[in-house]
Symmetry: C2
Subunit: 402 residues, 2 copies
Amino acid sequence: MLTVKKFGGTSVADKERIYNVARRCEKAYRRGESLIVVLSAMGKQTDVLIDMAKEINPNPPKRELDMLLTTGEQTSVALLAMAFDAMGIPSISLNAYQVAMHTTRVHGNARLKRIDTDRISHELEAKRIVIVTGFQGVNKYDDYTTLGRGGSDTTAVALAAAMHADVCEIYTDVDGVYTADPRIVKKARKMKEISYDEMLDLATLGAGVLHNRSVELAKKYSVPLVVRSSLNDSEGTVIKEATKVEGMLVSGVAAEKNATRISVIGLEDKPGVAFRLFDLIARAQINVDMILQSIGRDGSKDISFTVPEDVADEAIKILEDNKASLGADKIDFNKNVAKVSIVGTGMMSAPGVAARMFECLYNSRININMISTSEIRVTVLINEKDTERAMIAIHDEFGLED
Amino acid sequence: MLTVKKFGGTSVADKERIYNVARRCEKAYRRGESLIVVLSAMGKQTDVLIDMAKEINPNPPKRELDMLLTTGEQTSVALLAMAFDAMGIPSISLNAYQVAMHTTRVHGNARLKRIDTDRISHELEAKRIVIVTGFQGVNKYDDYTTLGRGGSDTTAVALAAAMHADVCEIYTDVDGVYTADPRIVKKARKMKEISYDEMLDLATLGAGVLHNRSVELAKKYSVPLVVRSSLNDSEGTVIKEATKVEGMLVSGVAAEKNATRISVIGLEDKPGVAFRLFDLIARAQINVDMILQSIGRDGSKDISFTVPEDVADEAIKILEDNKASLGADKIDFNKNVAKVSIVGTGMMSAPGVAARMFECLYNSRININMISTSEIRVTVLINEKDTERAMIAIHDEFGLED
């Protein structure tokens, strides 16, 4: 039995928590399991290092920032190995270079390409717990790279895939995936299981439990994922291939407040206009969601879409700068909007699910601005202030607490 | 022109000092020099990391301690590269793995074996300043090692040797090597030049400016060394092969208070006794200095020697434990002693130098406990309280202020 366990920064923030992690691993080790432990940097150390860099250079070169940031995980893995040693458990810490965690070239947001498993296999055979730095890799120039925020989840899943681990456990400060955010929907229920696809939609939509890329990778290599709490022994949520479900179609409700709706009003209705508009946005590396196109009374076109709030100003500026060349009358936007979604495998093949959601919102006097759907998801754009009421109403409507 | 510049922890302790280092390098870079800059960890960071480790495990495994400590220099080199970037100077930071700084296996006190110069040469050709982590290496298992305290000096000299640099400049908080410690001997004079051998004796004897191993390495590969201040532009001291000197024979006075005299009294005068005694001490990895053997009135032997004060208790315990088997009557010791030395190339071939030193101490009513000599050095053991008086008197006697 080989398990990959990933612990986030909060779980290794100080001496006491490092020992908590060590004791939790000890149980599995004493049962005879082989263990790979993936760690993030301690507490807010990554932010501390970024601040340190910006003090020297407000716009630090990314290659050097990665060089600096990778010291964070190297510190936490070494300290955990020292804790294991104090407990009489053999272990070894390995950083991205020692594991040979090959990534693409780009700094700050690299993608994993290949892991050499020789060293890890060798250490596991010697009955050592192998502690690996999350978040970091090495590119073909032997330079350190980082995988972007939440990248340690991806490291853990990639290791589980490469080593053919039986399970990859992601320890976090919540004890699983819920039918809705329990801070908002009091009746929210922890799910025992959820499919990769549903989890992907929940992650994208702001459930915030798992890094999106890690779920994609787990799906690609069929790595069984478990999300569970580092603070208690409760069972957590298993994320795996969809199995046939009878009855329950909607598995969860998620909200994303970090959204801005942008509308380009009065475009001429001729081919290529939409392409030119989204090409401009894409060149700025801005992701667009929930595109809606409508024909105005005078035959002109309006195009609306949402973008993440933190890049909204940039998108608006691009559109204003190109208003003339696009032939648009006006750029309109609203930052006080939220996306609320229901997610469930096979939902689209069951008629009436979307209609039930719309009706429930109508009964709660919540106005729907835009709608988008996928195979396993229905998303509506509503006013931000209605978010919590909408989630509770939908959660009730589909009886998710049972 | 290729220069290696090494800056210690004090020189990179904060943002301002990092920029000081960057500006000093800028001048040389703008003149067209190729530069390799070797850095220690910032300020007292190495001590901070050791404390952090000991909090987790009072006796941390050395392999993991090295894994932790190497983050110190990785941090300082990345920050200096960011400072260069802000100044518009191309540079790149490299750690021991990226440089391929191969060392022996042992952690905490590894020795450099080989440096792959490919990456550094490539970066220098691209007109980048190459910033290298001091103090650290990588062993044949791909594990990080450290070179022991002051190891960054050794890194710098080794790089200068491997890259055939024109000069290796060691920046420190003093502005050169003095004829005596200027805090004690007010008339002490900064030397323009000194030979490797003299510097080695001064380093061993507590002048404390350079790491001993770095001087040995510089001598072995004939690397011209310069010790100079990171705070001002004064010229510093050049350390190189001895050149013929006329007149001046004694170049400096040094003192070492960290010494304990141990005497083993009443040994039987038969072969092998001295060997067994020093074998016992050597097995505990304790270095012995200034050995003196005398025959007592009853035909028994007394053996006296000095050891560093921090291992004195261990040495004394070993001798007490083996008193019976050594056939000794008594173990005696004195911790309040100091070694005072005069150093100078070719000194032994000039008769009367040692006698002048002894006479000068006699005139100052300073008692000599033990004497030892080498080709370029005369050392006396005296009472610790007389150290300063002895240094000033000797400095005067040999006219070192001129």
